[in-house]
Amino acid sequence: MAALSVFVLILVCCALAPVYASWAGVDPFRSTLDAVIIVNGVEQPVMELPKTGLALGFSPIGPTWQPGNYFLGADNQGRDVMARLLYGGLNSITIAGIATILTLAFATLLGLVAGFYGGLADTIISRVLDVLWAFPVYLLAISLSVVMITQGIRLGPVEIDSGSLALPIFIIGLIYIPYVARPVRGQVMSLRQSDFVMAAIGLGASPGRILRKDILPNVSTTLIVFVPIMLALNMLTESALSFLSIGVQPPNASWGTIIQDGQSLLYTRPWVALAPGIMIVLSVLSLNVFGDGLRDALDPKSRVKLGRG
């Protein structure tokens, strides 16, 4: 529970990103190379000129540790890292959240159909899931992303712009379906053969009623246990894709893109990369701890394995 409150706290802070940005008076999505701020009564440019003649270009200001005043310093384009951190967190958590819902919804549907009806439907779904399961998730995500971020995607009337957050959500939601669908299918199959479902069939209950009354309630426990684990996994995946520049597209931010922005500043302004990483660790850790507790409470036999990143 303490773990859950840490995550909720992070979520609330990130949700207040626009409030922070307007209070600090910065636009986290526009470069401000010529901004000047006042630190301890001294005027300082956000982008400093090189002190030695040999260094190239500007170097952004480091952390001032003053809330609302470039708390964590600026990035390569003079943008307030703290404000971007909050906006990025909001994006990271939103993407992970919606992708989790997508994964669970499709996985449950596939798992129920394959496990309950068996036969040809099961064979087809299982084979496809086998292939997807064996396909390393990041490679699948890279293939999908690289195709979509070039020109976006057009599916009939639906047209998704290449910079849209819907693309990473869709990709991340898609790649983890087998991870949930396979255990759900297995559980539905064993429930299908359990005595109480046999009894219900014997009593003449309709398949719809059995699905609704006997199977879904049992499967939903598994699904609930999956929620924090999938959230954690999705946050790690999103950040990795964004770090590879095939997730959230600039000028939009996520914790992964900020770490990438910070890569070139690593030795001079390490906080640009450190801060979002720490946020990811805190969020994922709190989700994992919470997920562990939830699993011990709801699913003592541990059908669900802790996620891999």
Partner: protein, 323 residues
């Protein structure tokens, strides 16, 4: 047993074909725009587009296109990049494979050795403080993005503690071929190995601890105690040995995840010119033929590794072996 192994190999071939079709569909048949425009890269001239169309047979039916692509990647190996005109992709990928293999196998060794040690130690002192401490550390390990950990490592070894006695031995970023200098090869890879394996050490130490603890509740452990065996022997020879079966199955899956994911990110962070870094560079300038090739080679490697692990599993578990 022979039948079980053959069955597993047949499944492997099926999955490989499935993956290659999936990759083909993603790259050539995603609804949207002309695949030729994607392959040609940004701002390609009409002549280049035309060259792409002919080279990949886009005027032919799908199955011909599929076979053409497979032939270019696996048989003739004459797939060329259009972003870097005329650059042969397949030899370039093959050149980078030793780097990636050095990285992943070294990391896998660390991963197995340390997760077994930590898992056994934690199971031996289960519910006491060393166990709790190790499990929390493991959980932190699981929760760190590997590329970020790599950057932190770089910050420490390449900048902040560069000239100190305890990290001063770390060479600058980059790969040294084994044939050139075994010592240089080793030193260049130590930090990447540690970085890459930490996540999996955390995960596997936890999995192994849980599975040993579960095994210790079994009746055969009581039998082993009644036989007068030492606790150490019971833990290592009976509980750990039976737990390893589960360990190996999971290892197969996660070794794939490591090769196809974390290793790529690690190569990028440490500037190791492996398959992952090649893919990353291709991602930056949207060189699709390169990405297609690396994705296919890497996922085939993963699928084969999984099959090998499953065969080991068949050899390891007498219950499966005789079935």
């Amino acid at each position: 047993m022979v039948f079980a192994i053959l069955q597993r190999l047949a499944q492997m071939v099926f999955v490989m074909v499935g993956i290659s079709m999936l990759v083909f569909l993603i790259f050539f048949a995603t609804p949207g725009v002309d695949p030729a425009a994607r392959i040609a890269g940004r701002n390609a001239s009409p002549e280049v587009l035309e060259a792409v169309r002919i080279s990949f047979g886009f005027d032919q039916p799908f199955y011909i296109q599929y076979l053409t692509m497979m032939q270019k990647i696996f048989v003739t190996g004459d797939l060329t990049s259009f972003v870097n005109r005329g650059w042969k992709v397949v030899p370039a990928v093959l050149d980078t494979i030793p780097v990636t293999l050095s990285l992943v196998f070294g990391a896998a060794v660390l991963w197995v050795v340390f997760s077994v040690i930590i898992g056994v130690v934690a199971a031996a002192c289960r519910d006491r403080w060393p166990d709790k401490l190790l499990m929390i550390l493991g959980l932190i390990g699981i929760s760190m993005p590997v590329y970020w950990l790599g950057e932190v490592m770089n910050l420490l070894t390449q900048s902040r503690f560069k000239d100190t006695w305890f990290l001063g031995w770390v060479p600058p970023l980059g790969y040294v071929p084994f044939s050139e200098s075994p010592k240089g090869w080793f030193l260049a890879l130590v930090i990447p190995w540690i970085t890459l394996s930490i996540l999996y050490i955390g995960l596997y130490a936890r999995v192994l601890r849980a599975s040993i603890t579960e095994a210790l509740q079994e009746d055969y452990i009581r039998t082993a105690r009644a036989k007068g065996l030492s606790e150490t022997r019971i833990l290592l020879v009976h509980a750990l040995r039976t737990s390893l079966i589960a360990f190996v199955t999971l290892f197969g899956l996660d070794f794939g995840a490591l090769v196809g994911g974390s290793a790529l990110l690690t190569e990028v962070v440490f500037g190791l010119q492996g398959v992952g870094k090649l893919t990353y560079d291709a991602l930056q300038n949207l060189d699709l033929p390169v990405i297609m090739t690396t994705v296919l080679y890497a996922s085939f490697f993963v699928v084969m590794a999984n099959a090998v692990v499953d065969v080991v599993y068949i050899l390891l578990d007498p219950r499966v072996r005789s079935a």
